[in-house]
Symmetry: C2
Subunit: 404 residues, 2 copies
Amino acid sequence: MSSDIFKIEKKIKGRLGRAGVIKTSHGEIHTPAFIAVGTQATVKSLSPEQIKSAGIEAVLANTYHLYLKPGHKIIQKAGGLHKFMNWSGPTMTDSGGFQVFSLGADYDKKIGKIIGKKAGEIDDKKSDKTAVSLVKIDEEGVDFKSVVDGSSHRFTPEKSIEIQNYIGADSIFAFDECPPADASYEYQKTSLERTLRWATRCLDKHRELKVKSEKSKVKSPQSLFGIVQGGRIEELRRLSAKETTKMDFDGFGIGGSFNKNDIGTAVRWVNEELPEEKPRHLLGIGEPADIIGAIENGCDTFDCVVPTRMARNGALWTRRGRINILNSKYKNDFKPIEKDCGCYTCQNYTRAYISHLFRSKEMFSATLASIHNLAFLAKLVREARGAILDGKFQEFKGKIIHDL
Amino acid sequence: MSSDIFKIEKKIKGRLGRAGVIKTSHGEIHTPAFIAVGTQATVKSLSPEQIKSAGIEAVLANTYHLYLKPGHKIIQKAGGLHKFMNWSGPTMTDSGGFQVFSLGADYDKKIGKIIGKKAGEIDDKKSDKTAVSLVKIDEEGVDFKSVVDGSSHRFTPEKSIEIQNYIGADSIFAFDECPPADASYEYQKTSLERTLRWATRCLDKHRELKVKSEKSKVKSPQSLFGIVQGGRIEELRRLSAKETTKMDFDGFGIGGSFNKNDIGTAVRWVNEELPEEKPRHLLGIGEPADIIGAIENGCDTFDCVVPTRMARNGALWTRRGRINILNSKYKNDFKPIEKDCGCYTCQNYTRAYISHLFRSKEMFSATLASIHNLAFLAKLVREARGAILDGKFQEFKGKIIHDL
């Protein structure tokens, strides 16, 4: 089975999971694959060479942040995201939807009082009652305040696609609402139906820009992924997936909130509905055990800030669980983070040194820790891929899952 | 002319300056050379590979900081400084003297009130009157408070040499007092004479440890540099240099305060007295024009936090002067920092991108900026070296000095 951009190489017997290859004009992504997050057109503390050396093939940047800083037009003038950030491999951008809603609320919690509460703008009644949201949704789009300076902005599905077109990543996402985890069934359904209407508008705008860009021959083609929402409710997840499938997307993103103990099941609901031949990206999930569960249930790619954010806090993954390098016992530990890890950090530095860098608040601590956590995830999914290709996924999963 | 560790290749006609090679058991330093400062066993924000790619051959770490964190014994257990920080090239450590005095006063200014003023401990009456110094000097050594936690410590010449022996750099420095720039003639003379007595004790301790280490065959030999003080006073500079020359040091460090507009002259006083065949390190000087002046007047190596500290603040060196990348005009500037610069940063990134990283407070900004400033200095001294070898130093200096 294959689409224009995706080829399935082998499936897990009796499961939805598969190994494959996503083709982009900046190279291939061998799936399952973990995509590193480069929010502001940089994977925090890492050079592109360090990202690649960790075994990472693709980077996802955040549209919301790049729109605010430096501005999508500057990135276009620079020759697009790849050239701007010196990353020659495949790239993605998200739609900005998630940040508009999550950072909108967050911004308000932090400095809402300074700029004055605007009760009239409250719309999302399901969000945290202690915060007065500065995000206002209507059928056409969303008004929000910048997390940078509180200035007013408006995103619509068309605007998001246009911004992502300027930024120029290989794969982009449709603009969606990401309702809070505790939103009511009614609100989630309303939101989901609006997101479906927005999906159509994203596709229309995408086609319009595609025609333009084919005429000008300036750009590499972008693939557009539709987004499946529906939270933790099976009916809504299946509805969202079915309806999104009817539209002509190149692939699908699975967004929203999940039951923390069982992401695999919600992912299965969705992937049972999605067409097999198109790639599926699970948005914002990065815990090793969650990724293994999602791979088994048919997801191809993953992105998350967790590995690099945890790394910057000194939390390092090993096949025997997570260690906190700030624990005093590591001051005198001259072993690498993980014995059998082939990453740059483990090949060249001891726990004692990394512990010293963290205790001394040295920036290089973030670099070494981020390389390790990214390499850990990259290796994990690469091994999962190998196991699928060898027809041994269940064996692989059984061996590793309890220690993750 | 040559010593055990230094070979002069060519001298500047009619001047004290020269090009040469310092040999260490971790490779050669081609002089004149700029040594990057890795205070806490890391050059801030850079990997060893990035440091090398900037054209830097050697790293200087700070004994004071490493003694406090992680502790010199941990570095010894790790196999010494090189192995601990994964730097395979030549290394130096300073004696800790400069930090004991400067950070002692600084610590007090910041949090002296919290731990209570201890008037009885005031000794250095020439220091800033608004600060109550927590540094107490006597003939034997110095009591000081840790900049980390305010705990009490004592350095003696013997202790400094012992700590530096544990750390295991290729070249180490004698323990000296570095009096404040505005100290009186009398105080500077008293201090200088004590530093000379300390120098003898450092040499004695160094010999004792050398015999031990030769017996155990565990370590590479360390070379010990004596330190010349004397501030801005010619008589004291010459006296210090003459007396230090009489002792059996492997090389010399020139420390203390200088007249900002004319470092070259003070350096000349010293180098006219020092033996030609031994290497001379100018401590803590990193401004491009100062380095050129000091090269002409006989200094071989330099270290300073300035290039990397300035880089972290967005101040970038070019052959046409310094630019501040945070200036808004660089937001839209898609040229490299410097057109003809071959450094990793200039080969791969634009001013617009680096400006974006600084504005977004991204850690990678420090990495890219530090690589450029180090590469700038490394190239400058490499060109100075080439000009000396070609017999064209004055021509080279004439061409570049006004734009630096």
